[in-house]
């Protein structure tokens, strides 16, 4: 369970272009569910996602992970938590060009010192699960958009994280691939993982796989919608 209490975030503090991206957010992300942060551009949803995913610290407020306050932890510990607890899928996929699919997938496992054979076995299982085993050794720049995203999902899952964070995951996908992606998210939530994503794509926001939608505007949480999950 992830809880945020009175989260505020400022950029360029004290300068002429000081900007408050978040102005006091309180919310709870329930475990093993799909939650969506929605809102127009500039509403603060990506900033909120970076704070939820321990990629950034709030200027004010508390972040609690499984009841433990993690907002004041030094960078080293926060990185450790990020690596063990969170898996990230970025809008541009952010794969490393020149490396094969499998090499990209095992990258988050390097700092933990997990033996290579173990990492490769996990990566191969994930690739097989997402029907991508045949593209194992292909350089990522040779993959299609949908394949790249599935590699990004595998990479996000390599450390077996409790929470999956995705920023605008369908922005570069067509409707068919977006539907496939949502299906994957559904399976992950079913297997007990918490999924948090930002999106303003109606296909995602109105999808049956989504359990909760948090609407943001001008750095404030304006609405929380609960939906009963049904099979997509």
């Amino acid at each position: 369970m992830l809880e945020l209490a009175n989260i505020r975030k400022v950029f360029n503090q004290g300068q002429h272009n000081e900007y408050w991206a978040l102005k006091g957010i309180d919310l709870e992300i329930p475990p093993a569910q799909v939650s969506v942060l929605k809102g127009p551009s500039g509403s603060g949803k990506t900033t909120l996602l970076t704070i939820l995913g321990c990629l950034a610290r709030p200027t004010e407020g508390r972040v609690r992970l499984n009841r433990e306050d993690i907002s004041g932890l030094p960078e080293r510990f926060l990185t450790e938590i990020r690596r063990r607890t969170f898996g990230f899928i970025f809008q541009q996929f952010n794969l490393i060009r020149g490396l094969s699919a499998v090499e990209n997938i095992i990258l988050p496992g390097y700092p933990g010192g997990t033996p290579r054979a173990q990492l490769l076995a996990r990566a191969e299982a994930l690739l097989a699960d997402l029907q991508l085993a045949h593209r194992r050794d292909a350089k990522v720049e040779w993959l299609s958009g949908g394949e790249q995203q599935r590699v990004a999902i595998c990479r996000a899952l390599i450390n077996d994280p409790e929470i999956l964070v995705a920023d605008e995951p369908t922005a570069n996908l067509d409707s068919k691939l977006s539907a496939e992606f949502l299906l994957i998210l559904h399976r992950l939530a079913e297997s007990g993982r918490t999924v948090i994503l930002t999106s303003h794509d109606p296909l995602v926001v109105e999808s049956a796989v989504v359990d909760r939608v948090y609407s943001l505007r001008d750095g404030l949480l304006i609405e929380v919608q609960h939906a009963r999950r049904a099979a997509p």
Binding site: T46, L49, T50, L55, A56, E75, R76, T79, E80, R82, R83, F88, F90, Q91, Q92, N94, L95, I96, R97, G98, L99, E103, L107, P108, G109, Y110, P111, G112, G113, T114, P115, R116, R155, N159, D167
Partner: protein
């Protein structure tokens, strides 16, 4: 400990892949870096081996050579001089030497004519150095004529050619007997060029030198250790001159290496952002970059040093020999004894590998400490 080793293994793997992905940049850097190590190592290996060779050869020479001076210039040792020295305690053996220079207008080269004290040479015969064998086509039994300074032509038969192993000191040597030498140069009877003294106790050499000066104030004793020191200075000076000339190239390399190592491309910055976002710590990114610098410089060092070794000891230092050997018409052709000095290797390692490795780390610090959330916004 095992996860730490495994982690370093992963980082090295990733670094090797990164270098392979940026082939052009990596290879360019490696080539230039290797070239620099090659030049530095060649010069250093060569001068070191030359110094050792000189020391080895001079080990068999007399401890003191005494010259007579008139008005500060070298003059002939007069009769009776050698006998006076014989009374100084500590002197084991004493020997008046006869030697001089002869200019061969055919080759436009100087030979060293000398009377051999340790071998009998028949009248009319000479023993020649290997350079004469090469340049004048002399071999055993051939005759050669030299015109003396008085204009008279003297013909000698080459009885023997000196072995090539001693070429560093005997390339231009012509050995003959005393009577032939005195006749050829019209050298006054009883006079010598200088006097060689052997001293049994090495600790006594300086004392004997002082005693010689007291007994023969018009003489100049030259100690073997001074000759060695002079040789060392000459080689050091030449090495220094060469390195000074190369300093512009070294500086250019420094700038090149700094630019290549320090300048992170947009792609590299993006990669660092991704790595941080997926759970790499700042320390991991720095360690990865450390391995990159270390691997490149170590590889360059090893290739450069091995090529320099081959260049010096198997290809006779072809590229830089004229600069370091000095000028001569009769170049001695000699092979140096291969040897590696640990301290020399360590010094070269410290001055090449460490600065580069450090240069790669400084700028990476900034990139590695960027917030991982920047990748979300790129």
């Amino acid at each position: 400990m095992k996860p730490w080793i495994e982690k370093q293994h992963h980082l090295i793997d990733f670094t090797a892949q990164s270098l392979a992905r940026r082939k052009g940049k990596s290879l360019g850097l490696l080539v230039v870096y290797t070239l620099l190590v090659f030049v530095l190592a060649s010069v250093s290996l060569y001068t070191h081996a030359l110094r050792n060779e000189a020391t080895r050869i001079l080990a068999g020479t007399p401890e003191i050579v005494l010259q007579r001076l008139i008005a500060g210039r070298h003059d002939l040792v007069p009769p009776g001089y050698v006998e006076r020295i014989g009374r100084i305690r500590g002197v084991q053996k004493i020997e008046g030497r006869l030697w001089g220079y002869y200019y061969d207008s055919v080759l436009k080269a100087n030979y060293t004519f000398m009377v051999a004290a340790d071998r009998e040479i028949a009248p009319g015969e000479i023993v020649v150095g290997p350079a004469l064998e090469r340049t004048r086509g002399l071999s055993e039994g051939n005759g050669i004529s030299f015109r003396s300074y008085s204009g008279e032509l003297h013909t000698f038969i080459a009885a023997e050619v000196l072995p090539h192993e001693s070429e560093l000191v005997s390339a231009d040597l012509v050995l003959m007997n005393e009577a032939d030498f005195r006749r050829f140069f019209a050298y006054p009877a009883g006079h010598y060029t200088d006097v060689a003294l052997w001293v049994a106790n090495p600790l006594e050499v300086r004392n004997v030198g002082v005693k010689l000066l007291d007994a023969l104030p018009d003489s100049r004793p030259i100690l073997r250790e001074e000759v060695l020191r002079t040789y060392a200075s000459i080689f050091d000076w030449r090495e220094g001159m060469m390195l000074a000339l190369l300093s512009a190239a070294i500086l250019a390399f420094g700038i090149f290496a700094w630019e290549k190592a320090a300048g992170l491309s947009a792609e590299e910055k993006r990669e660092i952002g991704i790595l941080k976002a997926i759970g790499w710590e700042t320390g991991d990114v720095i360690a990865m970059k450390f391995w990159e610098g270390f691997l490149v410089s170590l590889l360059a060092f090893l290739i450069g040093y091995v090529t320099a070794y081959l260049h010096v000891f198997h290809f006779e230092f072809t590229l830089f020999a004229p600069v370091l050997k000095g000028w001569a018409v009769l170049y001695p052709s000699f092979a140096l004894t291969p040897q590696i000095d640990g301290l020399q290797v360590a010094t070269l390692f410290v001055f090449t590998v460490l600065p580069y490795t450090a240069a790669t780390l400084v700028p990476i610090w900034r990139a590695a400490t960027t917030d991982p959330d920047t990748v979300m916004r790129s």
